[in-house]
């Protein structure tokens, strides 16, 4: 590999009480690629991306962005560096509106004195933007953009979260099971959206249990097992059966001797 | 009918409850409308100011007030300007312009008498080696609390450098001041703490009789006999305790008298505009204090518990 990874993790460790969620996990994300992360339930995928996005501080190990070591103390830090994340448990404020949620922490202000001195938000512009992003996702069963998020169905919420990440991610977009609660049509749109984001040159980390989806969009597949990277495969080189076999421990990839 | 207002410091202390009962009965007898207000906490003037304003708004003829502190002065002046007769009960208000008259007992005097009695009871030798526990209301330096506390100490013969705060004395005979919240549970707790500090305490001053009752429980539990317990108020249960020897002596006050005198004054004022006059030689109308004890001491004027029962909270 001559290309340098844009985001790397080396030897991440995280213990919760006696449970070892990450056990020396490595990770690489190349520029402009879609890297899928697959693995059994409880393999530690969410913990890994939480470490990458600043939501969890690993006990050991280091994270490098553009080759520089970084220490995220909060998701805020990561976001400031252009890493945008959709978490598995959807970080939304139920009582706020869809538009407010999409712009949480990066509100647009009115131009002129109202914005600079009185710091008034530019609601109309924010709502128009949110409406447009949701339409692109085909999620316009949501009619009222100022509706509170708590009134949305599970899938609608997930759609809002994905739209937010796609709209604002400038360096890396991380999606933890973005289509888990989505319908057939909406999932399809999300996959298209992921491709669009890559077309903008932004690399994506995608966690998913849906093998057809993973094999359809991913450039590389990181297989996570028992808290660490088992191997990285390219979908052209292996079949889904192989991937599933590796991930569940039914088969060992060549050149790897299971350690755990 | 004309309206009379009574504003007390709170509605939990039996002293004020009696005062309210007396005023209500007197007002009913005199054919006056009557409204009673109470503050929330001794020392907090805001609810009393609110009450005064409400009385003005309601068009009262007269206001009887036991002021929490001098913060009520502007509101009372406003009331007087509106033609309302203002009478301070129990506690005088420093600004003479804020009241037409005070009907009060002198709380310092009340403390002074039990102090003198305790000193007389112990004799010169006993006074020199006394160990005194002070059970106050709390740390807030409420005026009544300070007056009774310092009055007692002065009466006992202890030098008090500052009569406006509690605990300014340096005399080693005073073991400590503790908060009793003027109730029995607090009295018990305070006494236990002081006994832990010094088990040889032999004189106990208490802010009122419920606190004395609590202190007595603690003394009893510690197996201590013959400790002098003195108190102030002279309520009927308190006098009974004097009779039973639980309390050595208590200074008796007359809340009902204050209240009924106050109502009387309002009636007169409403009739022809005459305002009440002060007791001879004083700036206020003294409703008096009596020391109630069954163990009289030379040189300290007192009445016995039988007489005290007759007068209690009259």
């Amino acid at each position: 590999m001559t290309v340098k990874p844009i985001l790397e993790a080396r030897g991440l460790m995280k213990r919760y009480g006696t449970v070892v969620a990450m056990n020396g996990a490595d990770f690489d994300l190349m520029p402009g690629e879609i890297c899928a992360v697959i693995g059994d339930n409880g393999a530690g995928k969410s913990t890994l991306i939480k470490a990458l996005s600043g939501a969890v501080t690993p006990d050991h190990g280091e994270i490098l962005l553009d080759g520089q070591p970084v220490h995220f103390r909060s998701p805020d830090d990561a976001r400031a560096m252009g890493i945008e994340t959709v978490y598995q448990n959807l970080a939304m404020s139920p009582a706020l509106s869809i538009a407010d949620n999409m712009f949480l922490g990066r509100e647009w202000r009115k131009p002129g004195i109202m914005g600079s001195v009185f710091r008034q938000m530019d609601r109309p512009r924010m709502e128009a933007f949110a409406r447009q992003k949701l339409s692109e996702l085909g999620l316009m069963t949501i009619q009222d953009i100022s509706q509170a998020v708590e009134t949305l169905s599970g899938g609608q919420r997930q759609g809002v979260a994905v739209a937010r990440a796609a709209a604002f991610g400038s360096k890396v977009v991380i999606l933890d099971e973005p289509t888990a609660a989505l319908g057939v049509k909406e999932s399809r749109r999300v996959l298209e959206l992921i491709r669009d984001v890559r077309a903008r040159g932004i690399p994506i980390i995608l966690i998913s249990h849906n093998m057809p989806h993973v094999f359809e969009v991913a450039d590389r597949i990181h297989i996570h097992r028992l808290g660490r990277r088992l191997c990285v495969i390219r979908p052209q080189d292996y079949s889904m059966s192989d991937a599933v076999a590796f991930m569940t421990g039914a088969k060992l990839p060549e050149g790897v001797t299971e350690a755990a | 009918a004309d309206l009379a207002c009574l504003i007390t410091k709170n509605n939990t202390n039996p002293f004020f409850v009696k005062m309210k009962e007396g005023a209500e009965a007197a007002a009913a007898a005199a054919g006056l409308d009557f409204q009673a207000y109470a503050g929330e906490k001794d020392g907090d003037a805001a609810p009393q100011i609110t009450a005064i304003e409400n009385c003005i708004a309601a068009g009262a003829k007269g206001i009887l007030i036991t002021a929490s502190n001098d913060s009520v002065v502007p509101a009372l002046k406003e009331a007087r300007a509106a033609g309302i007769l203002v009478i301070a009960l129990d506690t005088a208000i420093s600004d003479p312009e804020a009241q037409d008259m005070t009907f009060a007992t002198d709380n310092f005097e009340a403390g002074l008498r039990i102090g003198k009695w305790a000193a007389g009871k112990l004799g010169a030798e006993g006074v020199a080696s006394a160990k005194i526990a002070m059970l106050d209301i709390n740390k807030d330096n409420i005026s009544v609390d300070v007056a009774r506390d310092t009055g007692f100490l002065v009466g006992f013969g202890i030098e008090v450098p500052d009569l406006t705060v509690m605990g300014s004395e340096t005399d080693a005979r005073v073991i400590g001041h503790e908060s009793s919240d003027a109730n029995n549970e607090g009295g018990l707790r305070a006494m236990e703490t002081l006994l832990a500090k010094d088990p040889d305490i032999n004189v106990v001053y208490t802010i009122n009789e419920p606190a004395a009752e609590g202190a007595y429980q603690a003394l009893k539990a510690a197996g201590k006999e013959g400790v002098l317990v003195v108190s102030v108020d002279g309520g009927c249960p308190g006098v009974k305790s004097v009779k039973e020897g639980i309390i050595g002596a208590t200074s008796q006050q007359y809340p009902l008298l204050m209240a009924s005198k106050g109502i009387e004054a309002i009636v007169t004022y409403a009739k022809d505009g005459t305002k009440p006059a002060a007791s001879e030689g004083l700036t206020f109308f003294n409703t008096g204090v009596n020391l109630v004890t069954d163990q009289p001491v030379d040189g300290v004027e007192s009445i016995d518990s039988a007489k005290g029962t007759e007068l209690c909270w009259g």
Partner: protein
């Protein structure tokens, strides 16, 4: 997906028809125009109407029951009486919106007023300087609360229960339990009393303090609803983890909320001096519970994230109307206490019921 060994790079077959998918959206029933529906729609959009209605009804009811209550005199008296509680309720609303609670507001108020009084009257500082320093200490105490809540991650109830005790100790120590008399303030620092003044018109008197309360409430309403900070406050109250994951700096926002609450209490101290005319270390003991009561009667949820600043002012006013109204109706003290207890429960129950019904 048809063969096992060849990776699939096409859309799954059954998804082929998707491009023809309907784009219709779910139906939303339009509210019809009958009175109840218009009312419902209004209530849904402006939940603050509920305390406003309660206030109106109780004013009317008391005017009937207690003829002495009727007229501007009594009402402007109520406004004067509730000004300080109103200010504290504003501070409390901010904190409660973040799902916190501040039990130390009363103590902050009193310490600030003691500092202002001491500096202006006894040390002879110019009034504006004394007031500024008083503010500053108010903000500082709020800041301490905020840091403990945000950085040590303790529940706000615990933090402020602790600081309540600490601030009370400091206030008694600082003042040595001595008050500053009205006469002294008038003589040396009459500027401290400015907010007690006001103007009269046709029997009603409106104090500067009352007007300032309305202005501050309006300003806070703007900030909470039209600036990013206001949205963050709501989001944190709603779900602090979600707010953190959304990239809000939760700690900084929390600290700023408690600090602003402290500053408001400091400001309220100045108002309180004007109201009472003197400074006493043991005053305003009940303003803690009073402010919480006002906030919840005003429709703000103790669980955070939902509520209205205007509602809190109305809530303070409702409590005031009840107290004054009941006294003027000649209701006995005990039963006033009883009624106050019922008011809290009934008002909040009504609020919840109306909210549900308006959906």
């Amino acid at each position: 997906m048809s063969t096992v060994d060849e990776p699939t790079k096409t859309i799954s077959d059954f998804e082929a028809t998707l491009n023809k998918a309907d784009t219709a959206v779910a139906t939303f029933e339009k509210d019809d125009k009958t009175l109840t529906h218009v009312l419902r729609a209004q209530l849904r959009k402006n939940p603050t109407l509920i305390p406003a209605l309660v206030l109106l009804v109780s004013i009317i009811a008391f005017s009937i029951v207690a003829p002495r209550f009727f007229g501007m005199g009594a009402l402007s008296t109520v406004l004067k009486q509730t000004t300080v509680t109103g200010f504290i309720a504003l501070a409390q609303t901010l904190v409660i919106l973040t799902a916190g609670i501040d039990l130390s507001v009363g103590a902050i108020l009193v310490i600030s007023s003691l500092i202002m009084g001491n500096l202006a009257v006894i040390s002879g500082l110019p009034v504006f300087l004394a007031v500024l320093i008083g503010f500053g200490f108010g903000g500082l105490m709020g800041f301490v609360n905020g840091v403990l809540v945000a950085k040590i991650k303790l529940p706000p109830f615990i933090v402020t229960l602790g600081t309540l005790s600490i601030f009370n100790a400091l206030k008694l120590w600082y003042s040595q339990s001595e008050s500053i008399r009205n006469a002294d303030i008038e003589a040396n620092a009459s500027g401290l009393l400015w907010f007690g003044q006001g103007f009269n018109f046709s029997g009603a008197s409106l104090s500067y303090g009352g007007i300032t309360l309305i202005l501050l409430a309006a300003a806070l309403w703007y900030v909470l609803n039209h600036t990013a900070w206001g949205r963050h406050v709501h989001a944190i109250g709603d779900d602090p983890d979600a707010a953190m994951l959304s990239g809000i700096n939760v700690d900084r926002t929390l600290i700023s909320v408690y600090t602003v609450a402290g500053l408001i209490c400091g400001f309220a101290a100045w108002i309180a001096i004007g109201r009472v005319g003197s400074v006493s270390p043991i005053a305003f003991d009940t303003v803690n519970l009073g402010s919480i009561t006002a906030v919840v009667i005003g429709g703000t949820s103790l669980f955070g994230g939902r509520g209205s600043i205007i509602g809190s002012v109305l809530g303070a006013f409702i409590v005031g109307v009840f107290n004054t109204g009941l006294s003027l109706a000649g209701v006995d003290d005990y039963w006033q206490m009883f009624a106050a207890g019922c008011l809290v429960i009934v008002a909040v129950a009504l609020d919840q019921w109306l909210r549900r019904a308006s959906q």
